[in-house]
Amino acid sequence: MIAKVINVTKVYGSGQARTEALKGVSLDINEGDYIGIMGASGSGKTTLLSIIGCLIKPSDGEVYFDKRRVRDISDIELSRLRGREIGFVFQFTDLLGNLTVLENVLVPVLFHDGQIAEKKKYAVQLLEKLGLGYTLNTRVRALSGGERQRVAIARSLINRPRILLADEPTGDLDDAASERIMALFSSVSAAGTTIVFVTHNKAFVKYASNVYEMGDGRIQRILK
């Protein structure tokens, strides 16, 4: 088992601004799983993904990553985990605007034992696979939303993570590009990487081996 979420709740704010984003969610993620999490906006999908990815700690309940209780892991060790074991595709396709496409993809290598020069070839391969071979030295500010999304996906894969967490990875893409991304995720999953993605598009359910539907901070249904 790569990650285990046990009866987790997450509360933001206090008093009148108090929001309960998760209300007792439990989820097991095994090595090689390909999990889709669906749900309406505000259902707690992103919060759950952030908790699995050790970006935030739960208000209550327990999260285990690689059999270690996340609550007990130091900040330094959590950074190491995020850099080496986990690949993130964030909801807003966050890239570093001062860097080129290739440099953006190489940034996670800075937090890993690997060397930039060694990973350059793999970064180029990833970008070519994602149809971005022509933009290597382009500043990311000049890219379209879809291209930026694909750069974020290449960046998430550069360190060959054990688990890939993608928050609306096809959010800014057209249908053809979305299918291409999901097919890429399938090939990554086939190679052994665990994938958890969040989407509101029911068309992508077919790619996942397990699909959960969230609503009101809970897992409402297991669709697959």
Binding site: I76, P108, F111, A117
Partner: protein, 193 residues
């Protein structure tokens, strides 16, 4: 490639493609260095023809320089605060994909070093021009100062000014940098200001 080289890899790219605030910080550092240079020059160089009036005028000038340095220090804190606030999201992203707090701090530190260095180059160019004009203007009062080892003293004043401007810049950076290092990646990534 060790950690410092990795920090420099990113800092160099950020610095070269820097923002307006970086250039503002650079100019402030240059002004600071010039103010320090003036202060140390006055301290190091001999003043053989002082009259009471001139001594009082120079003391007043020295006081103005110190006020200028203090104001520049506060301005630098504000500029560095704005720079780090503007990069809140970027730092959250770096933390999210695995950067440790020390990496964020080192990145800001190295970028500030680059700002200080460029500010000093700017100050040196401006300072040389101003010093040349100043020496020529003061020659009737002080004689040929080059003969009294003034060049060496001016060089010492410049080095002291460099060190002082560096310390001021680092002190100004300290609080904003420590503050931004403490951000939580999740909140930084989701609070899009």
């Amino acid at each position: 490639m060790n950690q410092l080289q990795k920090v420099r890899w990113l800092a160099r790219r950020n610095f070269i493609r820097g923002s307006f605030s970086n250039y503002a910080a650079m100019i402030l550092v240059a002004i600071n260095a010039l103010a320090f240079f003036g202060y140390y020059l006055h301290r190091f160089l001999p003043n053989p023809l002082y009259t009471n009036e001139r001594a009082a005028a120079l003391q007043a000038a020295e006081f103005i320089l110190l006020v200028c340095i203090a104001m520049n220090f506060l301005s630098l804190i504000v500029i560095f605060w704005l720079i780090t606030r503007g990069r809140y999201h970027e730092m959250g992203l770096l933390r999210g994909i695995g950067a440790r707090r020390i990496f964020i701090f080192s990145l800001l530190f190295v970028e500030t070093q680059m700002t200080v260095f460029c500010g000093m180059v700017l100050a040196a160019l401006l300072g040389l021009g101003l010093a040349k004009m100043g020496f020529e203007a003061l020659q009737p009062f002080f004689g040929d100062m080059a003969a009294d080892g003034a060049f060496v003293k001016a060089l010492l004043a410049f080095l002291a000014a460099f060190a002082s401007a560096e310390i001021i810049a680092m002190l100004a950076l300290l609080y904003p940098a420590l503050k931004i290092c403490r951000i939580e990646p999740h909140s930084a990534l989701h609070n899009r200001e």
